[in-house]
């Protein structure tokens, strides 16, 4: 089996658009919305989720034939929880301020439905390497939505990107003010709604039947 056969490439590329975990599978919404006021925590969160999905997929897939079906949820939760503890300790050691901003949402990666969903739907029935790729793909699909939402919210909400002021002072002098609504948590929901709207008007097959 080659490392990047076309089948594996599909596993990586599909979650970016047609099977996007956030906008199509509707998984992992909680953290997708809560950490997106600024771009930097969104990027850190996206990376953490990529790492956790990829490696817990890999581990569970390697163990899949020896897990008794009745207690599989608990086994999965333990594996995911250990991955999240690792990520959490790393974040605290290297990017303490971002880790403070993310607060409980790092812990909530454990119950992030993307991870449980992929474990159940993919890793339990596939070999370790494709599972790993599937984890990376879904993590990236999640991270992309996070970054788009965070980019829009930070740009219009505080006139900055990654903390650097991009809206020039002359705009403010001319009467431009930051849109305070964008900082509010509810705007994230509306933005994701609009992203879904745009995505589905380009991909007609995703439109829901009544």
């Amino acid at each position: 089996m080659s490392i990047f056969s076309s089948k594996n490439f599909k596993l990586l590329a599909n979650p970016l658009n047609l099977e996007n975990p956030v906008t199509v599978q509707i998984l992992g919404i909680c953290s997708a919305l809560a950490v997106t006021t600024k771009l930097k925590p969104a990027i850190v969160m996206g990376l953490s989720v990529i790492v956790v999905t990829a490696f817990s997929n890999l581990v569970i897939s390697a163990m899949r034939n020896s897990i008794p079906p009745r207690i599989r949820i608990i086994v999965q939760l333990v594996v995911v929880a250990s991955m999240v503890i690792l990520v959490d300790q790393l974040l605290r050691a290297f990017v303490y301020d971002v880790s403070k901003q993310l607060s409980v949402y790092v812990g909530l990666i454990i119950t992030n439905c993307i991870i449980m969903g992929r474990l159940e739907a993919f890793a339990m029935g596939n070999k370790p390497w494709p599972s790993f790729i599937d984890g990376v793909g879904n993590g990236i699909g999640y991270a992309i939505i996070l970054m788009v939402v965070a980019f829009i919210r930070e740009l219009f909400g505080s006139g900055a990107i990654l903390g650097f002021q991009v809206v020039p002072q002359s705009f403010y002098d001319a009467g431009y003010i930051n849109n305070g609504m964008m900082i509010m948590p509810t705007m994230a929901l509306v933005l994701v709604g609009v992203i879904i709207w745009i995505q589905r008007s380009f991909n007609k097959e995703l439109i829901e039947k009544d």
Partner: protein, 205 residues
């Protein structure tokens, strides 16, 4: 006593799990199609919440906090197990949902049949884990406050899901642009409901 009531009111309206923190969104969006099922899930969430949050609080206070193990022996006073909190919380939650499910099945088959499918789902509902994580982060002082937070957060979650379900039931008769149908419009409605909930900001008992 006043503090306990205050925590309850805050956790239902101001720090509402859904509208202020987006916690428990997955099942919130997936199950809110009819009022009846969302009431079932809401009750199950409250039920599990008022059991797991106090248990996790006791575990945190007497096992995991730095120096919490002194009650066994003085030599444990430097032990800090708080890095294990995620693992302990999720284990408690998974074990408790399993236990609650078995108890309900044995003693109240009618309730089991109405909650049945939702109970196992709750183990992976972020609202439950977040209840315990916020409990740790906000450093509540005694078991009464913790219980009030557990009850309030569960109740707030139920309030949110039942009201969304009521809106969605009416929505079926409306003409919505095709790409927005289903999940897209649900997001936007939740956003608008969140704006309505913002009017509770600043209420204090």
């Amino acid at each position: 006593m006043q503090e306990i009531i205050n925590i309850f009111i805050r956790s239902v309206f101001i720090d509402n799990m859904i509208f202020a923190f987006f916690i428990g969104m997955c099942s919130y969006l997936a199950v809110s199609k009819t009022v009846k099922t969302s009431i079932g899930l809401g009750v199950a969430v409250i039920f599990v919440q008022i059991i797991t949050v106090p248990i996790n609080y006791l575990l945190l206070e007497h096992v995991m906090k730095p120096g919490a193990l002194v009650w066994i022996s003085d030599s444990f006073k430097d032990v800090d197990l708080s890095f294990l909190s995620f693992m302990v919380y999720i284990a408690t939650i998974a074990a408790m949902t399993q236990l609650v499910e078995m108890i309900i099945e044995k003693f109240s088959p009618a309730l089991y049949n109405s909650l049945g499918i939702f109970l196992p789902l709750i183990a992976v509902n972020c609202a439950i884990l977040a209840g315990s994580l916020f409990m740790e982060q906000r450093e509540y002082k005694n078991i009464g406050e913790v219980l009030s937070w557990g009850l309030g957060s569960g109740f707030g979650w139920m309030l949110a899901i039942v009201s969304l379900a009521a809106v969605r039931e009416k929505l079926r008769y409306n003409k919505i642009p095709a790409p927005l149908r289903g999940i897209g419009i649900t997001f936007i409605i939740t956003g608008l409901m969140g704006i309505a909930f913002m009017s509770f900001l600043g209420i204090k008992v």
